[in-house]
Amino acid sequence: MDEASEWVAVSAQPLAPDELAAWATRRDCGAVVTFCGTARTTSTFEHEIIELDYETDVDLAESRIRAVTARARERWPEVRAIAVHHRIGTVLVREPAVVVVVSSPHRREAFEAAQFCIDAVKRTVPMWKREVWQGGSAWSEQSEDVVDVGDLAP
């Protein structure tokens, strides 16, 4: 696995899914799967959400994401490139808060690894989300302990 097959970033910059997908596209790959987790209006609150506000420690979050991508490599060795970018700070409705891109020679591995990565990121990366509506805001319902990637069901 060459160095340039992994791209993890947590930052306040707007995300660029098309740039990540272009980066992940390789001459020997027939499949590129891109997942965008986008801010949406609906929530557990009785308000129409207008933006989300994400908070974390960047170093800690990036190191936890790298544990997820390392695990994905073990499970799907055919996978070529993996990018996981998470935005922090304010994310407007319809903007992506997180993007996962996986490329591989065949599509099954790309789909499986991409879904694994986003599922695992949600459960293993410390990342808190405030939901903001007209006139108020609150933390999203916080109910799950952050676990280690090794604790996830295989």
Binding site: E55, T56, D57, L60, S63, R64, K122, R123, V125, P126, M127, W128, K129, W139, S140, E141, Q142, S143, E144, D145, V146, D148
Partner: protein, 78 residues
């Protein structure tokens, strides 16, 4: 002095993002932080995990000046 990192709702309850605390164990760091930051913070700590340098830690684990202790409240997951 160990560095205490306060994340998400823990940061909000404490009012600060990090603190320097002089203590010998994880349990002691948390106890001193609870005294300093009060009841709302104690309530968050009660439902949080505690990590040392990114790895989950037990209260009796020893800590030194180069260690970073993080209070990690639950996330929304899903």
């Amino acid at each position: 002095m160990s560095r205490l990192l306060l994340l998400g709702p823990a940061r909000e309850a404490a009012g600060v993002r990090s603190a320097e605390i002089d203590a010998a164990s994880v349990g002691e760091v948390i106890a001193l932080a609870t005294v300093r930051f009060g009841k709302p913070f104690a309530e968050i700590v009660a439902i949080s995990r505690v990590w040392v340098n990114g790895v989950e830690a037990s209260p009796d684990q020893g800590v030194g000046p180069s260690d970073e202790i993080a209070v990690v409240p639950p996330v929304s997951g899903g």
